[in-house]
Symmetry: C2
Subunit: 345 residues, 2 copies
Amino acid sequence: MKKSETLRIAIVGATGLVGRTFLKVLENSFIPIAKLDLFATSRSAGTSIVFKNKELIVQDIKNINFANYDVALFSAGKDASKEFAPLAVKNGTLVIDNGSYWRMHPQVPLVVPEVNFEDAFKHKGIIANPNCSTIQLVVALKPIENKFKIRKVEVSTYQAISGAGQKGINKLLKEIETGVPVDTLSKHPIAYNINFHTIQSKFGFSEEEIKIINETRKILHRKNLKISATCVRIPVLVGHSEAVSVITKNEFSLEEVEEVWRQSPGIIIVDDPQNEEYPTPKMVEGTDSVHIGRIRRNPAEKNGLMFWVVADNVRKGAATNAIQILEHLWKVAPERIFSFQKMFK
Amino acid sequence: MKKSETLRIAIVGATGLVGRTFLKVLENSFIPIAKLDLFATSRSAGTSIVFKNKELIVQDIKNINFANYDVALFSAGKDASKEFAPLAVKNGTLVIDNGSYWRMHPQVPLVVPEVNFEDAFKHKGIIANPNCSTIQLVVALKPIENKFKIRKVEVSTYQAISGAGQKGINKLLKEIETGVPVDTLSKHPIAYNINFHTIQSKFGFSEEEIKIINETRKILHRKNLKISATCVRIPVLVGHSEAVSVITKNEFSLEEVEEVWRQSPGIIIVDDPQNEEYPTPKMVEGTDSVHIGRIRRNPAEKNGLMFWVVADNVRKGAATNAIQILEHLWKVAPERIFSFQKMFK
C-alpha cells in the first residue's frame, strides 16, 4: 500500500557518477523522503555511501523488492534499465530512468521539466531522462521554438569526458598524469586530443549524434524537425558545450531572443564577449542552469541565429533533471507518482 | 644584385613557435639555400638556434639589411609585419608573411598552394599565409567547390592552444600542472576548459571567426560566399579540428566526394568510423597533410555534406604552408622571386 505524504525512493546504480550525484541533489531537494535505499549491480554491492550524514550500504539490485518503493531512480546502464524497469512498473513503482534504453519508446515520456513537463503526466510507469547533450540543447531551443518557430538546427558539441562516467574521468586524468594512452572507451587518447562517441550506423553518425537528433525531435514534438549534429568529446572533465546554429521561420531581433531566454526558467545568459564574458565548462561546474552566450546573427542566413550553450552534464544533463522531474510531479500531480496505468502488467 | 641559382633567406620572428618550425621544415626542403639569417625583436635577439647542425645567432630585426636577402619569411606578429614588410619590398625582397596584417590587402595574394597557387604569381612583394584554421578548411573545400559548387559553409572549430604560440602551450601545461589559472591570453583557464579568441566586433564574432570567413572568401574567389563560423580553443596542444557542414549546388554521392578528395593534393582520408578510424589532433601532429574523416550526408539538407578536418596548425596551418609557397614559386616561376612590381616604392 503506497502512502502519499512522503516518498520511498530506491536509487538503482547508486555507485556511479550520476548515481552519486542523485544523492547530492536529493540532499538539497524539498522532497520528503520516508525511506531511501541504494542499489547497484553485484560488482558494486556492499559499497557504503553517506547521505545526510548517514551511512548507507549499497545493496545488490537482484535482491530489490520494488513493492517497497514509490519511485526508483535508475542510472545503472542500458541493460539494468531494460531488465529491472519493467519489474518496477509491474510493482506499481514509478521509474525515472537516466539510461538510453526507454527514451524513444512511444509509451515513455522523455522529459525536461522546463520544456515539456506536461508529457510526464501521460507516463505509464517509466519517465525517461534525455541524454545530457540533448537536455541543454532543448532548454535553449524551446523558447525560440515557441516564439519564432524553428526551421532548422545545426549543432556541434564539445563534450566533457564525464559523459562516459567515472571511467571517462579516470581515463583523462591517468593519461594526463602518465602520458600513456588508456585503452578504455576509445582506442584514441583523450588527453590533449578529441574522441568521437561509438559509431555504428552505416550513415556515419555516432550513437550520440543520433540521440541528440531523435530526442530533440521527440521532446519538441517536431518529429520531422531538420536537425544535424556533430558530437565530439574534448579533454574537459565536467561541462558540455554546444555551438548551435538555428534558422527560424519568423523574424527576430537579438534583443527579442535574449528577452525570451531571460523569461524562461533554467536559463542564465552570460554574454558580454568583448569583456570575455561567455559560458565555459569550468564556470558551470556544480550548477543546475543552462548557460547561454555568444548570441549573434548568422551572416550566411536569413533569420539565422547562432549561440553557445553550456551546462553541467552530470547535474542538469543527468541527475538534476531526473530529480526535477520527480519534484515537479510531487508538486503539481503527486497522484501520478502513486497511481498510474502500467505499461507492463 | 640578386642571384638565381640559390636563395638568400631571412627569417623574421625566428624564436617563436612558427619561426622555429620554419627552420625544421626548411631543413627538409629542396630549396638550395645560399644564406640563412635569423631575426627577431630585440627581446629575443642573441638567442642561438641550431639549423642543419650549425648554430645560428638570432639578430635584432632593427639591424636587418633586406638588400642581403631574396626572401624574408615573417612570423613576428602583426606589428613587425606592418613595419618591416614594406621595407623588405622596397629593397626588392619577397615577403612571405605568416601574420594577419596584410592578408586582406587587395594587392596581397593570400595563398594555399593546393588551392590557389596561381594567385601567388600576381604578388607585388608580399604573399600572405592564411590563418591556420582557414588553411585546412580551404584545402578541404576547394575540390568540393570545383566539382559540386558550394552554396553554403558552416564550421565549428576545435583549435589547439598552440595557435597562440608558445605562450599558449605554456599556459595549458602550467595550468594542468598547478591547477591554478594562468592569466595570459584569456582570463579563463584553458586546462579542462574552453576559450574563445578575442572578440571585438559589435556583431559578436571573434577575430578568428572573421578571419576564417573573410580569408575563405578571398582564397576561393567567392567574395559573397555564405559562410559562418564558431571558433573555439580546446585543451589540445597541437592540431586544429573542424566540424564542417557544406551545402552544394550540384548533387553528389559520398563516393564522388571521397574520390575528388583522394585525387586532390595535400589530403589524406581517414574514414572508417565503425572501427574508430577518424582524424584526431594527436594523429596529425608533425604531419603536413590535411586529414578528412566523418564524411556523411546531412540529414537536414538537400545536397548537405558533413565532415571533420584536422591538420597540424603549426606546420600545414603556418610554417609548412609558407615554405610550400616558396617551394612552388622556386619550382614553377623562380623569376617571380627575384623580380616583381613593388607595392611599395
